[in-house]
């Protein structure tokens, strides 16, 4: 029996005696016999050393990213987090607390969340941020629903270049209210959004929102996004932005975004096989009462001291029930804490320096891969920061990536939808510069890619 369940000698007997019952069984007398189960069929409990041994044996069968030169990116980044971040996140006053319903007892978390909201407001140039959502994809889903609450229509436009996972998540969020998600085609050379398509769609008066991602799903920057708001007018614009990129890029609020969402994992949160992540969400003040999720506000206590509390809760499920702006209850508060601690330790200059260094590495890699037969690198003729796409004009992504992996290089990930029902797509790979790769790793990547090319595109 784990020692976490109290079992002092005589303790259970004393509890039973106080209740005047002979056995705990009496407390389950109201469970009908026909609904009872026998054994669950689980193993015997294990002592802590055995558990550690068992789990370590499992985890040792994984190859951690440090084993490789890692060029994996997309929404989930492999990025060094200063040890100070985990030191704070590991404070059990934070991680063992609940949603701060009793504000007076939870000022620490509330203030940290208020600082987190403030930081996302500063990065995005918008007015208000919530205290987090599950991840970037679900934040985009919530943004879609918000757009529908503030604008008429039944069509939501998203880039065809958006990662397939996010398209699928968005399709699900749209399905409840019976809305349509439509893909905006992109220019074959630049990967830029087809603005004429958007113009025409918006003219139909059926579009209730447009989403664009910065950088886009191919890793590139699309200057057209800066002009989107002037094209769509009062149709809400959602920008899905990488937070690190916002250290050097114009805040989306400056070019008309009504909602800015993002995936915050790269700020101090380990990749952990894809979770927990951090959904970022900010919007304009006029849409505040339609926003999803917890929001922390500043106020004062009865003696006039600054104090913080969850506020505007009449939007939320525990008050508004079926008319709530979202069903979200549990969010990602601890990850929001990691985000603000990370940004504060690294500082705004540090973030911009990091983004610049990743962009330089990416450019070096793209240049090194550039002349190789069978690889178009970068695939699109558009600027990029730390990530870009390549396209294989022969062979396939999985052979290419396998060959790299045998040289201890994780060369990126295929952008194709892995579901058998998905239409066949070109062999595109998203390649990311990470802070762990060296100049030598980049040259090794290029050498291996050349060997793949000379072998005729076989692994």
């Amino acid at each position: 029996m784990p020692r976490w369940i109290s079992d002092e000698p005589g303790e259970e007997a004393a509890l039973l005696e106080a209740l005047g019952i002979p056995s705990v069984d009496a407390l389950f007398a109201d469970v009908p016999k026909k609904a009872r189960v026998g054994r669950m069929g689980l193993g015997a409990g294990r002592e802590e050393p055995e558990v550690v041994h068992d789990v370590d044996k499992l985890l040792d069968r994984n190859r951690p990213l440090s084993h490789f030169a890692t060029f994996l990116g997309g929404r989930i980044a492999y990025r060094y987090a200063p040890a100070a971040v985990d030191a704070i996140v590991s404070r059990s006053e934070f991680y063992t607390s609940y949603t701060p319903y009793q504000a007076e007892a939870s000022q620490g978390m509330l203030r940290a969340l208020f600082e987190f909201q403030s930081l996302w407001v500063e990065l995005t140039g918008l007015d208000v941020a919530n205290a987090s959502l599950y991840d970037g994809a679900t934040a985009a889903g919530e943004a879609l629903l918000l757009c529908r609450r503030i604008h008429e229509g039944n069509r939501f436009l998203i880039p065809a270049s958006l990662p397939w996972e996010e398209k699928s998540v968005l399709a699900n969020y749209a399905s409840g209210p019976g809305l349509r998600v439509e893909e905006i085609p992109f220019d074959a050379r630049t990967g830029r959004l087809d603005l004429d398509f958007i113009r025409k769609a918006v003219a139909s008066k059926e579009v209730f929102g447009v989403l664009a991602d910065v950088p886009n799903g191919f890793g590139h920057l699309d200057e057209g996004v800066l002009d989107l708001k002037s094209i769509i007018g009062d149709v809400p614009l959602v920008v899905a932005a990488d937070p690190l990129s916002l250290s050097v890029l114009e805040p989306p609020g400056e070019y008309g975004a009504d909602v800015v969402v993002g995936e915050g994992q790269g700020f101090g949160i380990s990749p952990s096989f894809g979770g927990p992540l951090l959904g970022l969400f900010a919007c304009r003040k006029e849409h505040l009462r339609q926003a999803p999720g917890r929001i922390v506000g500043a106020t004062v206590d009865s003696e006039g001291r600054p104090a913080y509390t969850l506020t505007l809760q009449t939007r939320e499920q525990h008050i508004r029930r079926s008319r709530a702006t979202s069903n979200i209850c549990t969010n990602q508060s601890l990850m929001a804490l990691a985000f603000v601690v990370y940004a504060s330790v690294v500082g705004p200059r540090g973030l911009a320096t990091l983004q610049t260094s990743l962009a330089e590495k990416a450019r070096t890699l793209a240049t090194a891969l550039g002349g190789i037969d069978g690889i178009q690198a970068p695939r699109f003729d558009s600027p990029y920061l730390g990530e870009f796409s390549i396209e294989l004009t022969r062979g396939n992504s999985s052979d290419f990536l396998d060959r790299l992996r045998r040289r201890r290089i994780l060369g990126g990930h295929s952008l194709a939808d892995p579901r058998p029902t998905a239409p066949k797509e070109p062999e595109r790979i998203l390649v990311a510069a990470t802070d762990s790769v060296s100049e030598k790793d980049i040259q090794r990547y290029a050498t291996t890619a050349r060997a793949w090319s000379s072998a005729g595109g076989r692994s």
Partner: protein, 488 residues
């Protein structure tokens, strides 16, 4: 014990240094001028020790399970084992990427697979997905599966109504409406589902009935088999909200009770930390009817290899990036194998014993609106406090001064001035007695003191009305407000 929380006059992080520079960051030459940031991010440049001290001080102005008994009803605030924290930080758990080749993450896939098998045995359902981000997200995904199921059967145009008891968690109706259903609440009788009312409510329009058992009043729905029969006879499905699973491990399970699909919260029953509000980890458990609709990918085993299976043509697709909150799955797995069959059973038995014991003790001070045989939590009504001009809220704040967290208040809403208390299995009799004594001191304190509470925390009673009336939601708002004050 006299309790005093730390009370630092800790400035906000932006007040700790000179205002940040506004000059733009150095441009990246390849980025077009138009796309470049014109003004630096307004955030302070601080030395690491300053940042660490700031957040360490904030942490000391926060209750956690590690600092205080935390009997929040419906939240299952059990001790979060330290060994789980240790394991989730191993490089083999934290430093792996969801887009790594399957061959390099076999251990992660196997751990996921094993946890799914454990949860299958716990729930009685054959198929499990760990993709949902939290409980409400699991509800939402399950309801999308319900929709897909009825669409396939050609019944969707008709079956658009989700029924729920008036004791349901707020997430239930919110998830139902987000998934495109209309909702209808069924009034309870003595805290439980009124079977006659349910029989009258089910129809050809019923898609599903969402139920928590034991329910949010802490009562076991003894007529659960009749409830299942009623819903199924109308052609509807029965949904299990697993928030209260901690009461019934090894006693009964949702499949046996007649449910068709369930969500569980690993952050409740399986003790992954609540993180100040999250992350959680939701689980979907489905019977034969709904299993084909579970999100992709599923973890599959072929021979001795584990892989991600995307070949599920009826699947609703993705509801979240990657495969769920793996970091929490590691913690939950460690918790489950530490307990094993007998340990999990004992967890439920002790949680229910604790709850009945504490219920009897606190029942001396406030009325218990329903029957007193409860499961893992119980409800009290603070209505009699009115006579002294005191509310449940005042009692909750006064409890904080005792160094214990308050119970959940004002839920379930069918009880006037309700308090909902959940003392999980990790609490000793000593802690329960201590809480009962604190409760007694608090409730017998003078109305003046109750109104003035809390006094021993980092702040006194917070003006929540002002927070909502004049929303100040970021540093930017505070700056703007400060400017307004200075301008005549």
């Amino acid at each position: 014990m006299t309790f005093r929380q730390a009370r630092y006059d800790e400035p906000s992080i932006w007040d700790m240094t000179v205002p940040p520079p506004t000059a733009p960051p150095p441009g990246i030459t390849t980025v077009p001028e138009r796309f470049r940031r014109k003004k630096a991010v307004q955030w302070p440049e601080l030395a690491e020790p300053e940042v660490v001290r700031h957040y360490t001080r904030l942490s000391q102005m926060n209750f956690g399970i590690d600092t205080a008994f935390y009997p929040l009803g419906s939240c299952t605030m059990k001790y979060n084992p330290k060994v789980s924290e240790l394991l989730a930080r191993r490089p083999g758990a934290a430093e792996i990427h969801p887009n790594q080749p399957e061959a390099t993450v076999q251990g992660a896939l196997e751990l996921t697979y094993r946890l799914e098998r454990i949860l299958s045995k716990v729930t009685g359902f054959p198929e499990i997905s760990l993709q949902p981000g939290a409980g409400a997200h699991g509800e939402y995904a399950a309801l999308l599966m319900v929709r897909a199921y009825f669409r396939d059967r050609g019944e969707l145009p008709l079956r658009t109504e989700v029924l729920l008891p008036d004791t349901a968690h707020g997430t239930n109706p919110a998830s139902a409406s987000e998934a495109g259903f209309t909702t209808r609440e069924i009034a309870s009788k003595d805290g439980c589902v009124d079977l006659a009312a349910l029989r009258a409510a089910v129809s050809k329009r019923t898609a599903c009935f969402m139920l928590t058992n034991p329910n949010t009043a802490g009562l076991f729905e003894g007529e659960i088999l009749e409830i299942a029969e009623t819903v199924h006879a109308a052609g509807g499905l029965l949904y299990y909200d697993g928030a209260n699973l901690n009461a019934i491990l090894g006693v009964t399970n949702p499949a046996r009770m007649g449910f068709d699909v369930a969500h569980l919260n690993l952050h409740k029953t399986f003790a992954t930390p609540h993180g100040g509000g999250g992350p959680g980890a939701g689980v979907l458990a489905a019977g034969e009817k709904l299993a084909p609709y579970l999100p992709v990918p599923r973890v599959a085993k072929t021979g001795r290899r584990f892989r991600l299976d995307y070949d599920r043509p009826k699947s609703i697709g993705k509801i979240k990036t990657a495969y769920g909150n793996f970091g929490l799955d590691v913690r939950a797995y460690a918790f489950a194998v530490s307990h094993g069959e007998e340990g999990l059973k004992q967890a439920s038995r002790r949680a229910v014993l604790n709850s009945n014991y504490l219920g009897a003790k606190l029942g001396k001070f406030l009325p218990r609106p329903f029957r007193t045989l409860v499961k893992h939590e119980f409800v009290l009504s603070g209505a009699p406090l009115h006579e002294r001009g005191v509310r449940t809220l005042d009692l909750a704040k006064r409890l904080l001064d005792e160094g214990v967290h308050a119970p959940t208040v004002y839920f379930p809403s069918l009880v006037e001035e309700s308090l909902m208390v959940e003392p999980p299995e990790t609490e000793s009799k000593r802690e329960l007695d201590h809480f009962a004594e604190a409760f007694e001191r608090a409730i017998h304190d003078t109305p003046e003191n109750l109104h003035a509470a809390p006094r021993n925390l980092s702040v006194t009673r917070i003006d929540e009305v002002r927070a909502a009336r004049e929303p100040r939601l970021s540093w930017k708002d505070l700056r703007n407000a400060a400017v307004k004050v200075e301008t005549p």
